[in-house]
Symmetry: C2
Subunit: 367 residues, 2 copies
């Protein structure tokens, strides 16, 4: 299964909106076929592995399949993988996570069992889910999996009072930030950051088949048509403004203005997340200032926190997130540190909101 997970990781940038899946076929202790899901319209991992076995002249009868996700049981752009697996006549299929779509989950495994194939499910489920948390979130709850990238000093200051923030963290931390940008479907920022830093929001120094889509929360539609992020690719601009003139001017720069319901005069962020899921967005990487970061947290739209901490203390300077004032520490929603890494001179603290993860684990349980 670890090998199948490694195969799935090799297609992390190419399968969206489909899940990243790997498959390994083993017989008599030998790998006789392996594969990973191809770009949309192409074959899924199981079929790739079967073709690989055929190419090697190996028979799959009586073999064991290791698949990181329950084989699909429905016709999409490709025929159901479960049928292809049944036709290969394996003795056993080992699956990491179940299909998180509540309408079809379990049907793939049921199809295999009906055919008399032994099924083992839930092997390395956490690792498999971490690769496809976005797909699982979209399927099971109708919103993307969203992480908040933050960079700050040890005392949680992300910029000086005069706005200076480049660069608090070092080159290794910034490069790692691009790795996370690269795997996301959407890189989201706020107007404060656009007006202050005029970021490009592209992924640099990583060879990608596609750049993640850029998106801006711009409640008042203040986005300058000269903003550097408007680089010709379609950029999503979420607003509550009905300024048609501005929307048309932005459209000429290939910005797609999406008018959303308002919440206290600003974009309803939960509605924005649902809209993105409707566009088949699995993963959202947020790189914004304290305003939007705090608003997303307050609106319960954040699943993970990716904080890069630099070895300095800045004292009285700009905070990382703006949140409503708490009266009791019990009100603070705690997450869980799932990983701690050193990157050059900085430290990356990776946190995850436990209950949101548990919901996904439940949705991705395989029986």
């Amino acid at each position: 299964m670890r090998h199948a997970l490694a195969l799935a990781r090799t297609v992390i940038h190419t399968t969206a909106p489909n899940p990243r899946v790997g498959c390994v076929i083993v017989r008599d202790g030998r790998v006789i076929g392996e594969g990973a899901t191809q770009p949309p319209g192409g074959p899924h991992a199981e079929v790739c592995a079967l073709r690989d076995a055929a190419r090697r002249g190996e028979s799959t009868a009586g073999a064991t399949f290791y698949v990181t996700l329950e084989p699909c049981s429905h016709y999409g752009r490709t025929p159901p993988c479960a049928d292809a697996v049944v036709a290969a006549a394996p003795a056993r299929v080992v699956v990491a996570m179940g299909d998180p779509n509540p309408l079809v989950g379990g049907a793939g495994l049921a199809r295999l069992r009906e055919a008399g194939i032994a099924v083992t499910a839930g092997v390395c489920q956490e690792e498999a889910l971490a690769l496809n948390a976005g797909f699982a979130a979209r399927m099971s709850r109708g919103t993307p999996w969203t992480w908040l990238k933050l960079a700050a000093s040890l005392d949680g200051r992300s910029a000086l009072h005069n706005g200076m923030s480049q660069w608090i963290t070092g080159a290794e931390a910034r490069a790692d930030g691009h790795v996370w940008r690269a795997r996301a479907d959407v890189v989201l920022t706020g107007m404060g950051t656009v007006l202050k830093d005029d970021p490009q929001l592209t992924v640099r120094a990583i060879d990608l088949p596609r750049q993640p889509r850029k998106a801006v929360v711009d409640s008042q539609l203040r986005l300058p048509e000269t903003a550097r992020l408007l680089d010709g690719s379609e950029v999503w601009v979420f607003t509550v403004s009905d300024d048609q003139d501005k929307a048309e001017r932005l459209a000429r720069r290939n910005a797609r203005v999406i008018r959303l319901p308002a919440a206290a005069g600003r974009v309803d962020l939960a509605a924005m997340m649902r809209w993105m899921a409707g566009q088949q967005v699995n993963e959202v990487h947020v790189e914004a200032g304290a305003g939007l970061s705090g608003a997303l947290l307050a609106a319960d739209c954040v699943d993970e926190v990716l904080a890069y901490i630099a070895p300095m203390l800045l004292g009285d300077a700009a905070g990382m997130v703006g949140l409503p004032v708490l009266e009791n520490l019990k009100e603070a929603r705690r997450f869980e540190f799932i990983d701690v890494a050193r990157l050059g001179g900085d430290v990356r603290l990776h946190g995850r909101y436990v209950e949101r993860w548990q919901q996904l684990m439940t949705a991705a349980a395989a029986f």
Copy 2:
């Protein structure tokens, strides 16, 4: 040498103001004697190891000594260890760090070499120095080695606006904080913390031969005579006030009021550190609010930062350290993360100011 360092660690709470030293004597690949420095007035590590060898009936002639600190060459409360080592006629002496006292450093090793003993110096110097940074700082620069203990949320907030701060971090982090308190000679806090939390400042849940001394920076001599930290042990109160009445009332509670020079109307913190070194204080553990923590940083009185980070974001709440506003990130003094540890649900980030450590390494170089 690692074994000698482990022996030195066993006496971490008992040798002050002397350094923590371990010694292992090896002959023909066998340990024939070992020891660690006894409480002040008692024998040093080398003599303990020699006595251990004698007790075992082993001859030290031709053996190798591993000592974590250069053997002393002067008469203190005990005769020079270098003479005892020479009398033991070893073939070789391996030393981790040199004597950091600039007046005597190198004399111990010179004494050994004059006697025809082969000397290897600088083995595991960093580890040895980490055990005795306080002794080295006091000897080489005339101030204690000082670490700042901080506890905060991921966004660097140490208390809510209403003052609530108990407990941001969990039980494991708090227990670890007591381990650091325990090794220090002095636990230092500020009046803000005393008035807000009324802390005891004692070490709990660790069996100690002595409690570290408590000390308070109290520029205006506002310490209530009923403060819980006044528990009968002598407490140092640093002030610039000349309120004799208050000082006498505090003296009845065994508080020793130390009047120090003022810096901008408050206690001159550098002078306070020099005063403590004059009292043979090697290590100071600071556990204070943003005011004193920031003032110590601004006065260049902090060598290490020990930050316990809890997995939560608090937004607009009290900061960790109060510091003068910076205009440029280049002005921010960077430290270096030397260790990252997970403690229960929290993370401990241990930082050290590089240039201050390098000064100690130079002072503790062994030739």
